[in-house]
């Protein structure tokens, strides 16, 4: 009975050719998207690295100009210099968000960025000490490892707030796990251990509340 029943049945077809063509098309679109993403991420990296290079050249130019012409460092207007540095900070942060904190390119970029930070810090410190500018300088040593420093992200956010609130506060954040001899010297100088904050040369360890930081600024 079932055989007779089957005889009249609809012939069930498999659109194998269409399955295959649809797969080829969708895989092609998907791969184009992936390649486009990878290529453009590469060009973003190149852009940031070039920007960092330009900044280094610019800071070296200031150094040399100062030495050669014996220009008074105290006449230096910090705004433009600072704006460009903030741009680099944002670019590094964007690339870290996109590629991840363990990406080799990001780590290399951050090492270079740390050196630029030290250079910037030295410059601002000079302005503060030699010219009596009313600057507050904060060094923030953090770790990206959640288990190593659970409060670091929150402290970073709080320092971002302080930076926005006060015009005369300069904050330099250093990933303490980046291996670089210059950074190593700085860590040794302040005996960095876990989350470390150096506010106007005074060292504190562990998370610091908003009010505590504000007290130390003035």
């Amino acid at each position: 009975m079932y055989v007779i029943f089957c005889f009249f049945m609809v012939e069930r077809a498999l659109s194998k050719k269409r399955y295959f063509i649809a797969f080829i098309f969708s895989a092609a679109i998907f791969l184009i998207g992936l390649l486009l993403g990878l290529l453009l991420t590469g060009s973003k990296l190149e852009f940031v690295e070039k920007y960092q290079q330009d900044f280094r050249t610019q800071s070296m130019t200031f150094d040399i100009q100062g030495a050669l012409l014996e220009e008074d460092i105290c006449d230096f207007q910090v705004e433009e210099f600072d704006r460009e540095f903030n741009m680099i900070t944002e670019q590094v942060s964007v690339m870290e968000g996109e590629l991840g904190k363990y990406d080799e390119d990001v780590l290399r970029m951050k090492e270079y960025y740390s050196l630029l930070e030290i250079r910037h810090w030295m410059f601002i410190k000079g302005l503060k000490e030699d010219c009596g500018r009313d600057y507050n300088i904060i060094l923030f040593f953090y770790s990206n490892e959640e288990e190593e420093c659970s409060d670091c992200e929150m402290q970073g956010y709080l320092l971002g707030y302080i930076n926005q609130k006060y015009d005369n506060v300069f904050i330099y954040s250093f990933d303490k796990n980046i291996q670089n001899s210059a950074l190593g010297l700085l860590k040794d100088k302040y005996n960095v251990n876990g989350l470390t904050l150096v506010i106007n040369d005074r060292v504190s360890y562990g998370f610091m509340e908003k009010e505590e930081i504000e007290d130390k600024l003035y």
């Binding site: 029943f5 089957c6 009249f8 049945m9 609809v10 069930r12 077809a13 498999l14 659109s15 269409r18 399955y19 063509i21 649809a22 797969f23 098309f25 969708s26 679109i29 998907f30 184009i32 998207g33 992936l34 486009l36 993403g37 990878l38 453009l40 991420t41 973003k44 852009f47 940031v48 944002e90 670019q91 964007v94 690339m95 996109e98 590629l99 991840g100 904190k101 363990y102 990406d103 992200e153 929150m154 402290q155 956010y157 709080l158 707030y161 926005q164 609130k165 509340e209 908003k210």
Partner: protein, 421 residues
């Protein structure tokens, strides 16, 4: 580059959706959706079942549309089955029958409230027609519907059911307009599915069955409140054909508010899942051709994908960041004044995710093609109900459906015993 689980899930969902859209577009290019125009040459007896439960105010309109069918009156028999309505449905029906004595309307009553499938089967047992139609009491049918649908049966012995194009009648609010858009797209898709025998559900309103086949496979069965889905699965299992036409129209009333929408969809999706479990052997079975290998896996997996996608992405991109934000805000004592003072719009091209941007553009383009074709072949204008309808559907519908799917999975996992099946 670090890749998160949420990103992988989004890619999988994107690839699967892209694959299906391209597959159906290829089907469209190869087969089209228009069926050969058939003229009606004979007028066989047609039995219509109208199950009624508390449809006071609606039932007269439904019966009007049946009485006004452009079809010989002596070739129509209408069974109105009252499933113990507690409103004045009975009075309205009897009054109607008295006023239209020229039409063969038979009034039936269930002794206890027994559900739609019971009412339909009651009519099926008494039906004398060569064809059997069910029309929900909240739907109306266009006068030429039977003339457009019946001729298809004369050219295909294995054709078991012809489905009309179902539209939303005069949508009033945004939710109904979203559903209007959804129905047009769904039925356009269904007409494509029909071309390769992949229709998985013959909707309740005015699907025309060949009665002999419907009786042979056992009529309508109780099936998790989604009997139309179950009977379609049974027809497919027995290798019968289900045909979607786009020229015969039936109009239905959609839920007006989110609560009713959630309830309706929860019932549909839950019924879909439970029926699919009952017919699980058909999934990935080559015996059923494209229906077994493509359509059923798609229907089955869409729920899991929706829940997975909304679960992972909302955790990864909404809940987790939001929790972090709140945690961070607590560090600054929720003092937002500083951010407002220093707020400025800035554009940083580094922040653009070109890969996702590309995928988004491809999706929008393909989506637009589908929408335009769907509107063209269902004879509707894209902006008939305002400029916001289609964008609202595109943006909100997937999210709404995913929320319902989450509710369905929650019910199936934690409230199984409480379900009143």
């Amino acid at each position: 580059m670090e890749i998160s689980y949420a990103q992988i899930l989004i890619w999988i969902a994107y690839f699967v959706s892209l694959y299906l859209v391209i597959f159906w577009l290829l089907t469209f290019l190869e087969k089209g959706v228009w069926l050969k125009k058939r003229r009606i040459e004979r007028f066989p007896l047609v039995s219509v079942a109208v199950p009624v439960w508390n449809e006071e105010g609606n039932i007269s309109l439904t019966l009007d549309s049946l009485v006004n069918l452009n079809y010989p009156r002596d070739k129509l028999e209408i069974f109105v089955v009252n499933d113990c309505s507690t409103d004045n449905s009975k009075g309205e029906i009897l009054n109607y029958i008295q006023n239209y004595k020229g039409v063969n309307i038979i009034y039936l009553e269930n002794e206890v409230n027994s559900g739609k499938y019971f009412s339909v089967n009651k009519a099926l047992r008494l039906a004398n027609g060569e064809f059997f139609v069910c029309l929900d009491a909240d739907s109306v049918v266009e006068p030429e519907a039977l003339n457009k649908m019946l001729p298809h049966f004369d050219y295909d012995d294995q054709l078991a059911v012809v489905l009309p194009l179902m539209k939303i009648a005069a949508p009033e609010n945004t939710l109904q307009k979203i559903q209007w858009c959804e129905y047009l797209l769904n039925f356009f898709y269904k007409s494509l599915m029909s071309m390769i025998d992949c229709v998985h559900v013959a909707p309740g309103p005015f699907s025309v069955y060949k009665k002999e086949i419907l009786v042979k496979i056992g009529g309508i069965r109780k099936a998790h409140h989604t009997e139309d889905f179950e009977v379609s699965l049974r027809l497919q299992r027995n290798h019968y054909r289900l045909l979607q036409v786009l020229d015969a129209e039936v109009y239905t009333k959609p839920p007006k508010n989110l609560k009713d929408f959630y309830r309706q969809r929860n019932r549909w999706y839950k019924g879909t899942m439970l029926n699919l479990f009952d017919y699980k052997r058909m999934i990935f079975s080559k015996k059923y051709g494209d229906f077994g290998m493509l359509q059923l896996p798609r229907v089955f997996l869409s729920g899991f994908l929706a829940v997975g996608l909304i679960g992972f992405t909302s955790y990864r991109y909404i809940l987790k960041p939001l929790w972090k934000k709140i945690w961070n805000w607590s560090a600054i004592n929720f003092d937002f004044s500083v951010w407002f003072q220093n707020f400025h719009l800035s554009f940083n091209w580094l922040k653009i995710n070109y890969m996702n941007g590309f995928f988004f553009l491809v999706s929008i383009t393909l989506g637009l093609i589908i929408v335009l074709y769907a509107y063209k072949f269902t004879r509707e204008k894209v902006f008939k109900y305002g400029f916001i309808t289609v964008p609202a559907y595109v943006i909100l519908y997937g999210f709404m459906a995913s929320i319902v799917w989450c509710g369905v999975f929650f019910d199936l996992l934690f409230k199984r015993k409480k379900l009143k099946w």
